[in-house]
Symmetry: C2
């Protein structure tokens, strides 16, 4: 569904620049095809929306219903790709105020840091609240979710008794590897698998993403439907008509021209965690071998009042990607003020969305004048179907973009550096 509009960067990108890049995108997509047909590569996500089993989906939905029926709050333990996807979708649909809206069990995303202050806060929030736990760890060995699981197991045991908590814990982990799977089987926890050939940052359409979404009431079938349609479309168009190629080409070209920072922006505040998900996807896929665009994000118009000055006049090393949504829902109109104390009565009765659109266009034009190219991604209305399509669009764009850059977009060798330091230091505590 997303369409890419490169008109505002056209001045920076001539047709002569474009043609070799288009060939590179074609080659990258072919390379992805090859990898997808090979065993032992991390490309299981490419066809996953297509192959995802209906029975699995039904099982996920049934488990979500069970958790909703016994819980006023659900703690989702997971780090990186194990929580960003579900949190992104839930907030985009229901806003960051989901917990306060009372439309489903409260969700607490834990297990992605080591803060004892935050664990204290969770203890307070869960006092006298019936709760359950979903623990998501692809590897099953990451320190933060493992320690967090110990904390919340203890809390559950204190609340319900050691022998009565097995139906309050669901584990989602690699289908083959790691300690979490056997642990779940041993203790009688419901368990879902993440295919071994899907990495954490590409796992949003697996149970890792879907179960927390279903708990919050997200329509999984529609989401998957959107992703599937997008997968079919993007994998069949083999020309520069392919929006994923357009985006991948624009990124690589802007990067080669010294635009080293991509600022992911959106005018919907509920997009915040989608930007976080995006930053992991692209940063972890491309940031290696001393290369890669630095992924940053800003919420507009909010951050026009903080980062706006820098974007307009700071170092000319950044480009912007703007995800634009069509309006949905009832219009909100500017109220009239008889006294016109603020002098804004010329806007009375206008729709806020129209004004937001004006702001978007004004900002694109101003940033262009200031030397900041803007890649525009039109993502449709905010609903499950278009979100499914958008997430798949970013995944495929990322794979093509990374392969064009000449890196392996599916590994993450750099995250081992601090982990090995840490493990040896912890062993000697």
């Amino acid at each position: 569904m997303p369409n890419v509009d490169l008109s505002s960067i056209w001045l920076d990108i001539g047709l002569n620049d474009m043609l070799p890049l288009e060939r590179k995108a074609a080659a990258a997509h072919e390379k992805l095809d090859e990898l997808t047909m090979q065993d032992g590569t991390m490309t299981g996500w490419v066809n996953f929306p297509e192959t995802l089993d209906k029975t699995d989906l039904a099982d996920i939905s049934a488990t979500a219903r069970h958790l909703r029926s016994i819980s006023d709050a659900v703690v989702v333990i997971g780090a990186g790709g194990s929580y960003l996807g579900s949190r992104a979708v839930i907030e985009l649909l229901y806003s960051s105020y989901y917990n306060e809206l009372g439309i489903g069990p409260k969700l607490y995303f834990a297990g992605h840091n080591l803060s004892s202050r935050e664990l204290d806060t969770f203890s307070s929030l869960l006092e006298n609240v019936d709760f359950s736990v979903i623990v998501i760890s692809k590897s099953g060995t990451t320190l933060e979710p493992a320690l967090s699981l110990r904390f919340f197991r203890q809390l559950l045991a204190q609340r319900y008794g050691e022998d009565s908590i097995s139906d309050r814990i669901v584990a989602i982990t690699d289908e083959k590897k790691g300690k979490l799977g056997p642990m779940a089987d041993e203790l009688g926890w419901k368990r879902f698998a993440i295919p071994s050939n899907i990495g954490g940052r590409y796992s949003v359409f697996t149970a890792a993403g879907l179960l927390p979404m279903a708990v919050a009431g997200v329509g999984l079938q529609t989401l998957i439907f959107g992703a599937r349609a997008e997968a079919r479309k993007l994998n069949s168009i083999r020309s520069f008509e392919n929006p994923a190629w357009q985006y991948a080409v624009a990124r690589n070209l802007l990067y080669s021209k010294g635009k080293k920072i991509e600022l992911m922006t959106c005018y919907e505040p509920s997009f915040k965690y989608t930007a976080e998900w995006f930053k992991q996807l692209f940063g972890e896929s491309e940031g290696k071998q001393g290369k890669g665009i630095f992924p940053a994000s800003a919420q507009y118009t909010t951050d026009l009042h903080s980062l706006g000055q820098y974007v307009q006049e700071g170092e000319r090393s950044l480009f912007e990607t703007l995800v634009r949504f069509d309006h949905s829902g009832a219009p909100v109109r500017v109220a009239n003020d008889f006294a016109d104390s603020d002098g804004l009565n010329y806007l009375s009765g206008k729709e806020m969305y129209t004004i937001q659109n004006v702001a978007e266009n004004a900002v694109i034009s101003a940033h262009n004048s200031g030397g900041v190219p803007v890649v525009l991604i039109e993502a449709g209305e905010i609903n499950e179907r278009s979100i499914g399509a958008m997430l798949y669009f970013f995944q495929l764009s990322c794979a093509v973009s990374g392969l064009m850059l000449g890196v392996d977009p599916f590994d993450q060798p750099g995250v081992e550096a601090y982990k090995s330091n840490m493990h040896s230091m912890l062993k000697s505590l």
Copy 2:
């Protein structure tokens, strides 16, 4: 209170590099002194913690008590510097779950975007909830807070009747300029002033920052006490013993050596909005004339699982600033697991804070090895006093750093570009 530790960047910074920079810092601080003594400059913040009137503080506290007594929720309307400071302090002290903890009226930060979806959400959240409004706009003419005020005035009037809402609105605006002040007087709203010589991003210790904090229960006197002590200290040490000089020198030197991105990091998740406040302060102060470090932020260890790969192995154009807090509160210890299913029993009984400290050291060492210098800022325990000191430290560091860079750290000429586009486009709607 904050101490700066440059030991991890010492390898990159030789003593020969340091001495000329130290002289530049001294000159910048002297320049700031000069500006502070002149009329018509935006340096009112320098001595503000010292000169802030006790009566004003009492008035702010009394108004906060009034709002608490009549409100289950308070909508704080403001953009940029008009909300980031108070939100930063409230979240750092009470976490991003403040609204769910039930320790004060819920706070909704509005008026910094044009999203009708978000206004819809606020309408739902305020149904059957007694609420009040604090509107903060330094200029009194910014579009987002002005439109937001229209929206919430209408909501208040529908709820309580047009004639019964004047004690539910408090306005905070420039002492002299703009339309909001006269409007407040006309309509009988309580009104606080932001001194004309204090810009939005330096206004956290004025009523703009303090009133929402007081509503949430923040101890204002202790916060101001911390800021005042820090102001005295930092403005009296005129040597490289001055932590603000150390930080400003490190930033300028790293920048001159090609480190164009500063990643502000912290291991406490509740620091998130302090990082946002920091990004406005430095980005808006320094990002001009094609210069300035791009301000980015990450929450650790959370984002080690997303941006960590990039930081370790991506483009070598970034440095990290780590704000480290001492532990406070009761220790949280790792629970024992008799079966040791996760193999982590060697950590049973250890304090989470100790483990977090190990992670901090492991990460500093890994990032140093990967070519990322780390500036360490030790900020004490998380409490009002040390937060007051830290915020003042960043403000003074920013002024010195910007003056060293050769820009005016108190203007923001670039934010006019899109605004003038937008106004002409809105006029022709």
